[in-house]
């Protein structure tokens, strides 16, 4: 049983009330160690309360509106570095650590997590794991999935379980870290995680070519992708009525210089070249366009299909939205991955029905369509995750095994799990 002490302990660090999608929680607790997180969860499970874990608060709008929230569980007191061995290139860190702070520590040793998720510096490690977000660097470096080597999770059963470890290769039992990744807390709350980290590239540059039409941007993008130039990221984007092709290059100084020169010559169109810091900043701003801005009525969707059909998908979205009077002020496509993230404007007459209509259209065009952000009232009753995945009943069993009382985030995950 969770001790009264831990409950009191958590209450001490009580902050204020909080809300997700407009649903207000009466209480916020911020436990200071993994066992206390488990105690809070067990307590809530026993009372039939619903808990919403919150980290940096950068992706709270992701998912279906919560069925209910009795308690917000802040992970911000679970910060610190648990273990960092620069010479082993491994890091163990509390779930509440901010991504930006982690990168700064790694940076002191010339290392990094090669990730650039929306939400950026303010997102916590736990939040990034729960939402499994990625950014354009996925093109060359993969995602958290490729870096996560160990995890500790607090469960509503009152226990804390560990899996994996601090080695870069490990098949000791099932691959639990990957199961928890992207599960939005519904199998337990991540309290710490271990990563394989990588050396920071010595130099970087970005080539941005701008075109009038999507077709040209995509065809050059596809040729770059099929070519031999080693790119860190490759995106095609619609920004301010122009189609951009952006290529990020990372590596040794000379290589970056040579490759950037060749890419620039190849692309054609209007070329802008950014080096070093300004290259990094260009991408930070690029990714931030995929973040909802507080208080506005922006709808952000992500669609996925076959990588080779990315151009068709992007054009299809623009055309289809036009026919239902939805504006697409900006769009970001990843030709290596087959995804398109689009910002949509449903206009003054936006509504639940309109959003449902948009989702239907997108599901007709793409294999996957997720509404990443939308005004809460428009999301009511919709499954923002899109299509129900195959094997959904196995997922239901998982939820039942790990969180039988649906204590954490009831209703928010795929299929209203």
């Amino acid at each position: 049983m969770p001790s009264n002490e831990s409950r009191v302990e958590s209450r001490k660090s009580r902050e204020r009330t909080g809300s997700i999608d407009g649903i207000v929680a009466d209480e916020v607790v911020a436990p200071e160690d993994p066992q206390a997180v488990a105690a809070v969860l067990a307590d809530a499970a026993a009372c039939g309360h619903a808990v919403a874990p919150v980290g940096g608060g950068t992706a709270l709008g992701l998912g279906n509106p919560p069925e209910r929230i009795d308690l917000i569980l802040s992970t911000l007191n679970l910060g610190g570095i648990i273990d960092y061995e620069p010479s082993d290139l491994v890091l163990s860190i509390g779930a509440g650590a901010r991504f930006g702070d982690v990168q700064a520590v790694l940076g002191e040793h010339g290392q990094r997590l090669p990730l650039d998720p929306p939400g950026g510096a303010d997102a916590t490690i736990g939040g990034l794991i729960a939402t499994a977000r990625w950014g354009p660097l996925r093109y060359s470096n993969g995602t958290l999935r490729d870096l996560l080597i160990g995890i500790a999770v607090a469960h509503p059963s009152g226990t804390v379980s560990h899996a994996g470890g601090m080695v870069v290769k490990n098949v000791t039992g099932y691959d639990m870290p990957r199961l928890y990744l992207g599960s939005l807390g519904t199998l337990g709350v991540v309290v710490s995680a271990n990563f394989k980290v990588l050396p920071r590239p010595r130099a970087e540059a970005t080539i941005v070519a701008s075109f009038h039409g999507a077709e040209e941007a995509f065809s050059q993008g596809n040729r770059l992708r099929g070519g031999r130039e080693p790119l860190a990221a490759l995106e095609v984007a619609l920004v301010d009525d122009r189609w951009l092709l952006a290529a990020r290059i990372e590596g040794r100084e000379r290589t970056v210089d040579d490759v950037a020169g060749r890419v620039a010559a190849f692309c054609g169109g209007d070329i802008v070249r950014q080096n070093g810091w300004s290259s990094a900043e260009w991408w930070a701003e690029y990714v931030s366009r995929q973040q909802p801005t507080a208080g506005d009525h922006s709808v952000i969707v992500r669609c996925g299909g076959r990588p080779k059909e990315t151009a068709i998908l992007a054009a299809g979205i623009v055309a289809a939205m036009d026919t239902i009077d939805v504006a697409v002020p900006s769009l970001a496509a990843s030709p290596g991955l087959g995804t398109v993230v689009a910002r949509l404007e449903l206009g003054a007459v936006g509504s639940r029905e309109r959003l449902a209509g948009v989702q239907d259209v997108l599901l007709g065009l793409a294999d996957t369509a997720t509404i990443l952000a939308a005004p809460p009232s428009w999301k009511q009753g919709l499954d923002v995750w899109g299509r129900l995945p195959e094997g959904f009943d196995v997922m239901q069993s998982l939820r039942q095994q790990f969180d039988p009382a649906r204590t954490v985030n009831p209703g928010r995950f795929a299929g209203f799990l």
Partner: protein
């Protein structure tokens, strides 16, 4: 066996599903299925009731449904090269051999994927994709024999996983037959599929959650340039220090392998790869990428090796030279027969900075137990493969080998390592699981197992310590959990 399905009707039912030529039930035919690649003694053998070799996912599903009715366990099997007893049918039952499902269904150059059946041999997949200038990155040393299904189940690695990642990093989706006989896809070509990452959970699950009937794998473009370096050292200690320094300098080679003197003694006379016979250890380092980078990185590595005491650094750029250097490494296990009739290949991982100390400890153990131990392994990952040489015919030798392994495992765990880096747990190491995991850790793994296979029908007695998954223990655990939750009717 359930009395509702007697042996005779089991055989006829299987024959009805897969055909007469694809069912084996005679003791002589079953003998090979009692084993996999593991060492006798480290893994118990067990005989299946029958072996069936289906050719379609539907046949696999029908066999599973039949087994369910007959209350028989089901064990999937690929090439049987596993080294932890994974494919050995601990409780008998039906073995589903997937070797006849061996078609490459599609190679998509634009999407960089291949869709394959589980019985496709690892090397054959790369050979089929190389003309398109792609390869399948996971390259276990057994790649000429092992299957993609086996690779998925064990989350296999290989020399090039240092840069490219293990099997899990290369699987995009799986078609799986579940214990209730349904055929489902996990994952797929598109990013952003909703729900839990069932593909991630399936990879490395040792055939205990589902049977893979198709895999959608990622293909990796062939690098523009490749360089292989051979660096001999006077002793293991300086070679392992060189390894640690290369990694901590932030260099990620495509592969970084070590072979010690005993290995060289076995390999060099057989394959003439060019390893100096008097070296205490050699490092075999591959770097790939674009030509300029490869050259620059090669020079840095050569400098580090020289500083760490390499007696020379030889580099091979032509395909033929590179192949020769690699041949010694790839054939190393085969050459061990020159040194002793039997060997036990061990697989553990330690943090890379702990390599020098760990190898010293392995050497000590070798002397304490009067047991020659060769080291040929993925040094860059910290993934050790101490290879113990012995003669099974000598009484007590197998026991000594097992004792020595226990010492090695214990040390590796003490310095923050793991039980296995790529060979899996199976039955070989299930008894050691409590050394690294608490009851709560194992309970979470059991939660995953129960979500897929509540009756425990697929590959029973693997991974979990003996008796852990049996009804009694499970009931106790449920009770404890119910108490914690304040629920009484669980």
């Amino acid at each position: 066996m359930d009395t509702r399905v007697d042996r005779y009707s089991l055989v006829t039912s299987l024959e009805n599903i897969v055909g007469k030529d694809a069912v084996f039930t005679r003791a002589a035919d079953l003998l090979v299925y009692e084993y996999d690649g593991s060492v006798d003694g480290a893994v118990e053998t067990a005989m299946p009731a029958a072996v069936a070799l289906p050719t379609t996912a539907q046949q696999v599903a029908d066999i599973v449904l039949l087994a369910r009715r007959a209350n028989l366990p089901v064990v999937a099997r690929g090439a049987g090269t596993g080294l932890s007893g994974g494919a050995v049918p601990q409780q008998g039952g039906i073995i589903i051999g997937l070797t006849r499902m061996n078609r490459i269904l599609e190679i998509d150059r634009d999407d960089r994927t291949a869709l394959v059946e589980p019985g496709v041999i690892n090397l054959e997949l790369s050979e089929a994709t190389i003309p398109h200038r792609f390869f399948f990155a996971p390259d276990p040393s057994s790649q000429k024999a092992c299957t993609i299904g086996g690779n998925v189940a064990e989350n296999s690695g290989g020399p090039h996983c240092l840069k490219y990642g293990v099997t899990s990093n290369h699987i995009l989706g799986l078609e799986v037959v579940l214990p209730d006989g349904r055929i489902v896809w996990t994952g797929g070509r598109a990013a952003g599929i909703s729900g839990y990452d069932l593909t991630g959970a399936m990879v490395g699950s040792e055939g205990m959650l589902g049977i893979v009937t198709k895999a959608l794998v990622r293909l990796t473009p062939m690098p523009e340039a490749t360089l292989v370096l051979l660096a001999p050292f006077a002793d293991i200690d300086s070679a392992s220090h060189a390894t640690t320094r290369i990694i901590s300098a932030g260099i990620v080679p495509a592969a970084l392998e070590m072979m010690d003197n005993l290995t060289i003694q076995a390999v060099e006379p057989a394959y003439h790869a060019g390893y100096p016979m008097d070296a205490g250890a050699v490092l075999l380092i591959e770097i790939d990428g674009i030509a300029d980078d490869v050259r620059g990185t090669g020079e840095e590595i050569a400098t580090i090796c020289a500083e760490a005491g390499a007696t020379e650094v030889r580099s091979a750029t032509s395909q033929a030279e590179r192949d020769l250097l690699w041949k010694g490494r790839k054939m190393a296990l085969g050459a061990m027969g020159r040194l002793a009739p039997n060997y036990y290949l061990h697989d553990t991982v330690v943090p890379r900075s702990k390599l020098p100390a760990t190898l010293r400890r392995v050497d000590e153990i070798s002397r304490d137990f009067d047991l020659p131990i060769a080291n040929v392994f993925h040094a860059g990952d910290g993934n050790l493969h101490p290879l113990m040489l012995f003669d099974r015919r000598i009484a007590g030798s197998t026991e000594r080998v097992l004792e020595a392994s226990k010492e090695i495992i214990t040390y590796c765990v003490e310095v923050g390592g793991a039980l296995s880096g790529e060979h899996g747990i199976g039955t070989e190491k299930s008894g050691y699981m409590t050394m690294v995991y608490t009851a709560d850790d194992l309970a979470a793994m059991a939660g995953l197992k129960n979500s897929f296979d509540p009756a425990g029908m697929f590959n029973p007695d693997k991974i979990f310590p003996k008796g852990y998954m049996c009804g009694e223990v499970r009931a106790l655990r449920m009770q404890a959990m119910a108490q914690k939750l304040g629920i009484h009717a669980l």
